[in-house]
C-alpha cells in the first residue's frame, strides 16, 4: 500500500456546471450527485484512484466558483483549498481546472485566475462532444501555447472520455504556469485568447433558444410549469398503483406463510405484528417514491430547474425568498436534509436562512406514505372532469398547502427582518441536456437502496422497539380488553391523548406520532403495529387502510393529514438546521413554529369537519 505521503494530491476546480463532478465520478468510480445547474456540489468530496503507473491519486471534487473572490459559502470552500488556507489541509500538488468548451468566454477567466496561484495547473476542456455538435472549433495547441499550461480535451459523460487526462496526470507534473503580469486585465486576455484560438459559429445553441421561447414565455412558461408539476403528482398516484398492489400481496403472502409455521407466542407476534405489519406498511410506498424521484432526476439533468427559478423569482422575492431558493426547496420534496444543504449556493445570508427555515414545510417523500395511506382510505377513488384522479388532486392540494404555508412563513420572516438592503439573484441558465436513461436508472436504483436501508435499519429498529413497548408489560390475569391497553405504549398513548383530543387524535395515533419524530414513515409502520396488536385476530395489517377507514371519523383523518403538512420535524432535519446555521436558536424557532402551526391547523380542520359531518 502506498502511504498518503506519496499519493499525488489533485483538486478539480472550475466554474459551476462545467462537469467537475462528472469527471470526478469517471476517474474515481464514485457516484457523487451530478445535475445540470450551478450549485450541485456544496462540499469538498474526496476520492482516490490508481493511475496506470500504479501511483495513488487523491482527487478532490470542489464546489464550482465563478471567481476566487468568493461570494457564497460554497465558493469560499473552493477558494480556501486553492489558496492552501483550508483548515487541516495542505495545498494540492496539482489543480485540474475544468472548463466547459461551449462557454469559454466565462470559464477562461477563471482559468486565468487559477493560473496565477503558483500551483501547477492542467486545463481540462470538458464537454467537447457538445462543442463539436455546435460546430465550435478550438485550436488546442495554440491555446496550450498561449496559456502556458497543458490543455486536455475531455468528455466526462463518456466512459473513455478522460483517458487523455489520466495519462497526462500520470506523467511528470507540469511546470509552474508563467506568472505574468499581476494586474493583467483578465477579460481583455480572454478576448485575445478566444480570437486567437476559438472559432464559434453562434453564441448560443439553437435548441436552447427554441425551447426557451416557450419555457420562458411570460404566459406559456407559467402554464408549462404548472402542468408539469401537476402531472408529476397525478402520475405518482396513477402509475404506482399496480406496483403497490403487487408489493402488498407479496408481503401478505410472505407474512402469512412465515407466521403460519410458528407456534403462538411472542416470536410469532413480533413477526406478524412488528415486522410484517410495521415494515410491510412502509415498503408498499417504494413505487411512489421512485416515480417522484424519476421526475426530480430527469428535471435536474434537463436544465429546466434554473428556468423555473427564473419564472418564479419575482413571486418568491415578494414572499421573502429568492428564485435561488427554488432548487433547494424542490430538493426538499425528496428530503429536507439535502434541500437544506443545497441552500449553501444562495449568496444572500438572509435568503439562505429564510429558505432553511421553510424547507421542512416542503412535503418530503417520507410524508408520502402517511398521505397515501389516509387518502386511499378516506378519499373516494373518483374521476373528476373526466380526466383527473380525485385522490391525485387531494395529494396535489396537500403539496400546494405546504408550498403556500412556506411562502407565508417566509413572508413573516421578511417582515420581522431589520436589514432591508438589496438581495442578489445572478443565476446562470445552463444549456438543455437530455437525461441519460442509464444515469436515471442508476439514480433510481440508489434511491431504492437508500429507502430499503432505511426500512431495514431505523424503521425496523423503531418498529421492533414499538412492538416491545406495545406488548409489555403483559396484561394482568383476568384482563378483558386488548393486551396493548396495559402496555407501556398504551399508557403513553392514553396520556398523550389528553393533549391531542382537541385535534381529534385517538391514542393509537398519539403512539404513532412519537417514533414518527425519528422518521416520518415510521408513523405508518407504528399504526400498523398498534392496530395489529389491538386486533383480536392475526390478520397482517397490510390492510391498515380499510381498517382505519372503518374506525376513524373523517374529521380525524383530515386532521392528521393537515398535521403532516407541518409535521413537526424529524430529528435529523433539526440536526441539519443546527449544523448549517450554527445556532440552536434557529432549531428551537423552527421546531416551535412548526409544532404551533400543525396544532392550530389540525384543530381548525378537525373542529370544522366535525361540525359539518355530524
Amino acid at each position: 500500500m502506498s502511504s498518503a505521503e506519496t499519493a499525488l494530491r489533485i483538486a478539480l476546480v472550475g466554474n459551476p456546471n462545467c462537469g467537475k463532478t462528472a469527471l470526478f465520478n469517471l476517474l474515481t468510480g464514485s457516484r457523487q450527485k451530478v445535475a445540470n445547474y450551478a450549485g450541485v456540489t456544496v462540499e469538498r468530496k474526496q476520492g482516490r484512484y490508481i493511475a496506470p503507473s500504479g501511483r495513488v491519486v487523491d482527487l478532490l471534487d470542489l464546489p464550482g466558483a465563478y471567481s476566487l473572490d468568493a461570494a457564497s459559502p460554497d465558493e469560499a470552500i473552493t477558494r480556501d483549498v486553492c489558496l492552501g488556507i483550508a483548515a487541516g489541509e495542505t495545498r494540492p500538488d496539482l489543480l485540474v481546472c475544468v472548463a466547459d468548451a461551449t462557454n469559454l468566454r466565462l470559464h477562461l477567466r477563471f482559468v486565468l485566475e487559477v493560473r496565477r496561484l503558483g500551483v501547477p495547473v492542467v486545463l481540462a476542456l470538458n464537454m467537447m462532444d457538445a462543442a463539436a455538435r455546435r460546430g465550435i472549433r478550438i485550436d488546442i495547441a495554440a491555446l496550450e501555447r498561449e496559456l502556458g499550461i497543458p490543455v486536455i480535451e475531455t468528455v466526462a459523460v463518456k466512459r473513455a472520455g478522460a483517458r487523455a487526462l489520466v495519462e497526462r496526470i500520470d506523467g511528470p507534473l507540469p511546470p509552474l504556469p508563467p506568472t505574468g503580469d499581476a494586474d493583467l486585465d483578465l477579460h481583455a486576455e480572454v478576448r485575445r485568447l478566444l480570437a486567437a484560438t476559438v472559432s464559434m459559429p453562434t453564441r448560443t445553441a439553437a435548441t436552447d433558444d427554441a425551447i426557451d421561447r416557450i419555457a420562458l414565455h411570460p404566459l406559456w412558461g407559467l402554464v408549462l410549469l404548472g402542468v408539469l408539476m401537476f402531472l408529476i403528482f397525478q402520475s405518482v398516484f396513477s402509475w404506482a398503483e399496480p406496483l403497490m398492489d403487487g408489493i402488498e400481496n407479496g408481503i401478505k403472502a410472505l407474512g402469512g406463510w412465515s407466521v403460519a409455521a410458528l407456534p403462538e407466542g411472542p416470536l410469532r407476534s413480533l413477526l406478524a405484528d412488528g415486522v410484517f405489519a410495521g415494515i410491510g406498511s412502509v415498503l408498499v410506498f417504494l413505487p411512489q417514491i421512485l416515480i417522484l424521484f424519476l421526475f426530480i432526476l430527469a428535471l435536474e439533468e434537463s436544465g429546466y430547474l434554473p428556468r423555473a427559478a427564473f419564472l418564479l423569482d419575482r413571486l418568491m422575492f415578494k414572499a421573502g425568498l429568492s428564485g435561488r431558493s427554488f432548487i433547494p426547496l424542490l430538493s426538499s420534496f425528496a428530503c429536507a436534509i439535502p434541500g437544506i444543504m443545497a441552500t449553501r449556493s444562495i449568496q444572500d445570508p438572509r435568503d439562505r436562512l429564510a429558505t432553511i427555515m421553510v424547507a421542512p414545510l416542503m412535503t418530503c417523500s417520507a410524508r408520502l406514505p402517511v398521505y397515501t395511506l389516509l387518502i386511499a382510505a378516506f378519499i373516494p377513488q373518483r374521476t373528476v372532469a373526466g380526466l383527473f384522479n380525485l385522490q391525485g388532486i387531494v395529494l396535489f392540494a396537500l403539496y400546494v398547502a405546504g408550498i403556500v404555508s412556506a411562502l407565508a412563513v417566509a413572508f413573516v420572516i421578511k417582515r420581522l427582518r431589520r436589514d432591508r438592503s438589496e438581495h442578489a439573484l445572478l443565476l446562470e441558465l445552463p444549456s438543455y441536456r437530455w437525461p441519460h436513461p442509464r444515469d436515471l436508472a442508476i439514480g433510481l436504483w440508489e434511491r431504492a437502496w437508500i429507502f430499503l436501508k432505511r426500512v431495514g435499519g431505523i424503521i425496523l429498529a423503531l418498529t421492533v422497539l414499538l412492538w416491545f413497548l406495545s406488548s409489555f408489560p403483559a396484561p394482568p390475569e383476568g384482563a378483558t380488553g386488548p393486551a396493548i391497553d396495559y402496555s407501556f405504549a398504551g399508557r403513553i398513548g392514553r396520556a398523550l391523548e389528553v393533549v391531542f383530543a382537541p385535534v381529534g387524535f385517538n391514542w393509537q395515533i398519539c403512539i404513532a406520532l412519537i417514533p414518527g419524530l425519528a422518521a416520518r414513515e415510521v408513523a405508518v409502520a407504528a399504526l400498523g403495529t398498534v392496530y395489529s396488536l389491538s386486533g383480536s385476530d392475526d390478520t397482517i395489517a397490510a390492510e391498515l387502510g380499510p381498517l382505519i377507514a372503518g374506525q376513524w371519523p373523517l374529521a380525524t383523518a383530515l386532521s392528521l393529514l393537515v398535521w403532516y403538512i407541518f409535521a413537526p420535524q424529524c430529528i435529523s432535519t433539526l440536526a441539519v438546521i443546527r449544523r448549517e446555521t450554527n445556532s440552536w436558536r434557529n432549531v428551537w424557532i423552527a421546531a416551535g413554529y412548526l409544532f404551533a402551526l400543525a396544532y392550530a391547523a389540525s384543530f381548525i380542520t378537525y373542529q370544522i369537519t366535525r361540525a359539518l359531518t355530524s
Binding site: 473572490d69 477567466r109 407559467l222 438589496e422 442578489a424 445572478l426 443565476l427 441558465l429
Partner: protein
C-alpha cells in the same frame, strides 16, 4: 416602454442608458458597472461574470411577473438578473467607442 419615462418631454431616439432599460431582443454594449455604495459585492460579481466595457450584451426576455427578473446574454452565457442588479450596468450610447 421604459425609455421615455425619464425624460417625458424629450422626443428623441430610444437610447437606453442602463441594462435594465434595454428592450427585449435588443443588444447594446457595456460601458461600465457602477457600484452602489462602497465595495458593492454585486457589482464586483457582475464584472467577474463579464460585464465589462466593450462587451456586447443582449436582453433576451423578461420574467412573467412585473417584467422582473431579466434574462441577459453576455458572452456565451445567459444570466437571470434582477432589475436592480441590471441597473448597475451602464450602456454605451450607439456609435461610441469604449
Amino acid at each position: 416602454m421604459f425609455g421615455y419615462n425619464r425624460e417625458p418631454f424629450l422626443f428623441k431616439a430610444y437610447l437606453p442608458v442602463r441594462l435594465s432599460e434595454l428592450l427585449p431582443g435588443n443588444t447594446a454594449v457595456v460601458r461600465e458597472v457602477e457600484d452602489v455604495g462602497s465595495a458593492d459585492p454585486i457589482a464586483r460579481r457582475l464584472r467577474d461574470l463579464g460585464f465589462v466595457a466593450g462587451e456586447p450584451v443582449k436582453l433576451v426576455t423578461r420574467g412573467p411577473v412585473g417584467g422582473d427578473p431579466l434574462l441577459v446574454q453576455i458572452g456565451f452565457t445567459r444570466f437571470a438578473l434582477r432589475r436592480s442588479e441590471a441597473a448597475r450596468v451602464r450602456l454605451q450610447s450607439a456609435g461610441a467607442t469604449p
